[in-house]
């Protein structure tokens, strides 16, 4: 379905010294540096999969999406989607994809939302009957009815995002690209949008590629993630694999019988742990310790704790994906381990 092979994109960036003087200097003697925004990325996505594309800000996520959607031309490498090369035969290719950029809207700003859909119907040559069915389906999934007659500029961000997603799906695309579809939305709207995406994927088998900073999106929607950092792929696999490989962080939470006992706990020295390996937080009698179970076994941790203090209640759980990814972003886990 989607084949990406050794894809790279370089940008030429002018280096300017700060201030007006620097700008003037750059005008006469420009200095350029080549920035590799995307550096040899390869992956494959089968039909119907939902792939989460994650990475810190500036990692090159959007650049990859823009190459896949035919907006940018790769410096080297290839991508092929549904048998099309996006940059060649662009018009035919984009008919089969839907694109949503969370940061900007593709709706007609000053017109009633309804008008946007009727224009898109013409652009994509959707027959009347199909258009009606499609609108009914999108209406049901994304609840557009409340605001379909309002001018787009008056919509709230949540309404606009729902409208944008509907707009990208009107022509029944085979692949849907969502670049940060839940950015800036409240919990309820996020939930709605996730449900809608899930429903569309389940009912129509639409392949979805999604970038996000909200890891809940990833956990709830995607079965697979590709993580990139500084233009390079650092992880590609199932979320469960990621948890298994990197999920050595555990949270130990307990309530002390006697609040003063906390001074008796000295994990770092007694168990020889560094700052990276463990972190202790306490609020009155409640103590929570996050530790790396590679460095110190759960058993040692528990027996040490119980030997030092009396507890009312104790509880141990896996750290969530957010913590794993935070560690990956910070390069605490090296790429070699993948």
């Amino acid at each position: 379905m989607i084949y990406v092979n050794d894809l790279s994109k370089e940008f030429k960036k002018a280096i300017k010294e700060p201030g007006l003087k620097g700008s003037v200097k750059a005008l006469f003697k420009p200095n350029y540096e080549i920035i590799k925004a995307v550096d040899g990325i390869s992956f494959h996505v089968p039909k119907g999969e939902m792939l989460g594309f994650i990475g810190p800000n500036g990692a090159g996520k959007s650049t990859v999406i823009k190459m896949l959607t035919g907006i940018l031309t790769p410096t080297s490498g290839t991508c092929e989607i549904n048998g099309h090369i996006p940059q060649e035969n662009r018009q035919k290719y984009v008919k089969e994809i839907g694109v949503v950029f969370g940061q900007r809207t593709q709706l007609w700003w000053d017109l009633a939302l309804r008008e946007t859909y009727s224009v898109l119907k013409e652009i994509y040559d959707v027959p009347d009957k199909e258009f009606k069915e499609r609108m009914a389906f999108l209406n049901e999934v994304l609840e557009l009815d409340d605001f379909i007659s309002s001018p787009v500029r008056t919509l709230s961000l949540g309404q606009r995002m729902r409208a944008d997603i509907a707009a990208s799906l009107l022509h029944n695309p085979k692949v849907l690209f969502l670049d940060e579809p839940t950015i800036g939305l409240d919990v309820v709207v996020k939930e709605n949008i996730r449900n809608a995406i899930q429903k569309i994927n389940a009912e129509e088998g639409t392949t979805v590629i999604l970038t996000t900073h909200d890891l809940a999106d990833i956990e709830l929607l995607c079965n697979r993630i590709v993580m990139i950092d500084k233009g390079k792929k650092v992880f590609d696999g199932q979320i469960n694999d990621l948890k298994r490989e990197f999920g050595q962080m555990r949270d130990l939470k307990f309530e002390l019988m006697n609040t003063c006992d906390i001074s008796k706990l000295n994990y770092k020295e007694d168990l020889k742990l560094s700052d990276d390996d463990m972190k202790l937080e306490s609020e009155k009698a409640i103590v929570s310790v996050r530790f790396d179970s590679d460095k110190v076994s759960v058993e040692d941790m528990l027996s040490y704790t119980l030997s030092k203090v009396h507890v009312k209640d104790i509880n141990l759980k896996d750290a969530d994906i957010e913590e794993i990814i935070r560690r990956l972003y910070k390069r605490e886990v090296s790429i070699d381990e993948v």
């Binding site: 940008f11 500036g58 959007s62 823009k66 959607t69 035919g70 907006i71 940018l72 031309t73 940059q87 662009r90 018009q91 035919k92 984009v94 008919k95 994809i97 694109v99 950029f101 940061q103 900007r104 593709q106 007609w108 000053d110 017109l111 008008e115 224009v119 013409e122 652009i123 994509y124 040559d125 001018p151 670049d179 940060e180």
Partner: protein, 263 residues
Amino acid sequence: MRRMLRLHRIFVAQYMKNLMEYKVDFLTGAISFLLGQVIQIAFLGIIFSQIPDLVGWEFNEILFIYGFSLIPKGMDHLLFDNLWSVGYFIVRKGDFDKYLTRPINSLFYVIAEKFCVDAFGELLIGLILIVYSTVQLKLTITWYMIPLFIVAVVFATLIYTSIKIATSAIAFWTKASGHITHMFYMTNDFSKYPTTIYNKFVRTFITYIVPFAFTAFYPASFFLTGENPLFCIGGTVLASVVLFTISVCIWNKGIKAYESAGS
């Protein structure tokens, strides 16, 4: 082609609805434009009240040339005005993304999106000047003048448009090129007067390099004198076809260099 025309109609309809949302803005634009034109013509009148003729062309002939120049300029303004925005901000802000993710030709899409109604002022004044000066000069109109006039206007319009396409496409490399477009576009002012009043450099420039002379003086002089149809009309067609081909090539190359904007 049929699909394009239909889409164009739909885009225009949407744009008109848009315009109606901002009526005051639209009216102010139209009135200021009309005022600008009236002042320029009044200025011509003042000049000719002091001099009998301009290198052999009398006042009414100059009016005809001036009026003719407004027709292709107005047509370009009416239909292809959105190209300005490409050079000024669409590329710089990364908004060009939207044109590339639709299954229609990006150049067509940009152009069709806007329909500049202000241009009717230009077209109206142009027509009034042509009719007025034709009557004053008692020009005889032969039947073949009509189709030739239409051909001249169509291809002259394309010269304006091509220059705008080529110069706005520069933005794909430089991020912004509105001022470059402006610089080239403004040389069209030279074309409103007989080229013979200029020195050799300007004459060569507006004939062979940025061939604005073919948008007004050359075709208009044919309609006034009936001389040199091959150069005056044929030249307009040739110049515009060559220029259009080049500018579309630049545009297509530009799209490959487009870098979008960070998000």
